[in-house]
Symmetry: C2
Subunit: 410 residues, 2 copies
């Protein structure tokens, strides 16, 4: 008799048949005696179609009205899933974000959940109903409809699980869990039975697009056990949870990579306080997000400065940087959009020295030159030439023994 | 400076271009200094598509969830219209039925409006906003989403106009007003400048499908001046209002007809109390609606009983009637589904005698035999052979001078 919140994404509810399959799965949990709250996204393609419709009326649709429009996508799914549940004898009630009062701030299109009134849901659960809630949407304190931004349904699921003190929040997707790395790159990649919130945050932000990062933060903050699993299979998925002191954590949990970055360097900048803020300030004003930043001091009182941006903004960033270079009388500006970032992530790093050098040696053994290095408490990232992506990931996967369950080689 | 409620149906907002045309029209009223509240239906085809989607999940969708699903249709239109208004510099705010608290009973799929909280709308109007409200939907006292049934957007418009004490409720459709009769039958048919609520009720129920009958009742009850006009043209339309004592009402305002009826007769039934209730009771139990009812007493203590039903239920009604006839030992049952009902409607009848006989004479002059007659205070209906429909309507249109503005010939 557990209370479980299940979240199904757009692909999982993409057709009437898939909605029926979700209903069958929910029913199996009900039959075991579990209370189930289901959070759903819009059917796949619906949100994009609505955005297209909005743009046919207004090239830059007012955000308040766009949220009113987009919220209909999830509202349709909740009704259809409740119908499918009723059809197989599972009493169900659907609710929009407004109806269960998912209170958010009023940042239309990217609202944040402030509070959820769980009274009505508890009442329905007590009556034996499955409660189906629209993901991605809420309501501000004036009753305006808001949306949480792309992937916001994950956040709705976790926030509901936190408010309801659910035993588990299950995120159903089209993959069956979190892997040590992308199986398309490394066929030996292995599904992790469990991973910590911190590791998941690093993996998610580095490009393992399994879960929306805000939902992981939320789950970590409110201690909601989060499970990623497939809506098409029956496996146990991956449990994302706090570090378990009883068991020795593996050194490295996974290898992430990101092909969407480009690197820019400005050389021979006067090495004085405020110079980094000045350069990055100009980049920021151009609305370009910066990822990795590395600075080295040269011998002649000048400094070299390298950073990465999204590849789509490479040209724009290069133009800004050239202008800044002229103003600062910097020696040289260069860039490269044929790079890739590879990262190893693992909480085990905290208590084990030498992980970084083990990583660098593995890459060197394959003749891969490292262009940038950046480290955090549980992560080491390197930038290498794009053509070394597969080779680098496989070498690291093998070095840290990720294909094997249990303790890694070291 | 008037307060106007405008309602646009599904065809009027059927494409992004048409939504933009509606926005332009609203803007013209705003530019004159009017306050405007707009009620919209779902884009044409959307509601049907949603019903189809529901049936693909559940052959007989639960009514509560069907309402949640269908309400998304109007919600999409309000957002799109508000965007179109903002685009042309007209500040606008969209609201669902739930957001402006259109309180209804909880009869899902056919809910009735109980109360509207107009505070928020007045506040927005004061700020100079156009308020766009979703038609067809409301919310019950537990916060469940309800819908008013097909054509319910007209009712939303009128109810809002009543709550806001609007100066006029304008219903935009694909016709440019109420006509003296169907122009496809009588090319001389003329648009009426004005008509009374009572006449409109009789015309609507008799088959002039311009306005939803509930909305006319509502407008009459709350003294809301109602105007029917075209969303594609610029004419003044037809004003539906209370009888104006200052001006002499025309004898006859319009001629309605209904081809969807069939006639059934049971002859030689014992003429005793309760017999009509017994016969019609059996028909009612079979869920068949009866329209006209005529009873004649014969000389031999038996009675003949004739009534009309919807043509689609003719066979079913005939079967019921035959069974009843056996039980009552009636002499004979007969029927005819090749009939048509023609009605003349006009409040002027109240104060003028001889209208009915003038009607009968006009039909007789054309050699049209009358099979049934039924009268009310402001209406005379006859049933004639189907083939006489056009001839009968034209003869009556001419007899009562409906092609001419002002007073009729008499």
């Amino acid at each position: 008799m557990a209370l479980i919140v299940q979240k199904y994404g757009g692909t999982s509810v993409g057709t009437p048949e898939r909605i029926q399959a979700v209903a069958e799965r929910v029913k199996r949990f009900r039959s075991q005696g579990d209370d189930v709250v289901v959070v759903v996204s819009a059917m796949s393609g619906v949100t994009d179609a609505l955005i297209k419709l909005a743009r046919s009326v207004h090239a830059d649709p007012p955000v308040r009205e766009l949220d009113v429009l987009l919220a209909t996508g999830e509202q349709q799914t909740i009704a259809l899933l409740a119908m499918a549940l009723e059809k197989i004898g599972c009493a169900a009630r659907s609710y929009t974000g407004q109806q269960v009062h998912i209170l958010t701030d009023n940042a239309y299109g990217k609202a944040r959940i402030v509070k959820i009134d769980e009274t009505r849901i508890h009442e329905d659960l007590k009556k034996g109903h499955v409660v189906v809630v629209a993901g991605f949407q809420g309501v501000d304190d004036l009753g305006n409809i808001t949306t949480l931004g792309r992937g916001g349904s994950d956040t709705t699921g976790v926030a509901l699980a936190a408010a309801l003190k659910a035993d588990e929040c299950q995120i159903y997707t089209d993959v069956d869990g979190v892997y040590t790395t992308d199986p398309r790159i490394e066929p030996q990649a292995r599904r992790l039975d469990r991973i910590t919130f911190e590791e998941m945050l690093e993996l998610a932000s580095l490009g393992s697009k399994v879960l929306q990062i805000r939902s992981v933060e939320f789950a970590g903050k409110y201690h909601v056990p989060l499970r990623v699993l497939s809506s098409f299979g029956e496996g146990p998925g991956t449990l994302i949870t706090y570090e378990d002191n009883d068991m020795e954590a593996p050194l490295i949990s996974g290898i992430a990579f990101n092909r969407d970055e480009a690197k820019l360097t400005i050389r021979g900048v006067p090495d004085k306080p405020g110079i980094a803020a000045l350069i990055l300030g100009e980049i920021g004003k151009a609305n370009i997000n910066v990822d990795m930043i590395v600075q080295n001091v040269a011998a002649d009182d000048t400094t070299d400065f390298t950073f990465t941006v999204h590849r789509g903004e490479y040209k724009k960033a290069l133009d800004v940087l050239k202008r800044v270079a002229r103003e600062l009388k910097a020696r040289e500006v260069s860039g490269d959009d044929k790079i890739v970032k590879i990262s190893i992530v693992g909480v085990g790093m905290r208590s084990h020295a030498g992980i970084a050098s083990q990583m660098f040696k593995a890459l060197a053994d394959e003749g891969i030159n490292i262009q940038m290095i950046s480290t955090s408490e549980i992560k080491v990232s390197v930038v290498v030439e794009e053509k070394y992506l597969e080779l680098g990931v496989r070498a690291l996967h093998n070095t840290f023994g990720l294909e094997k369950t249990g303790q890694p080689a070291s």
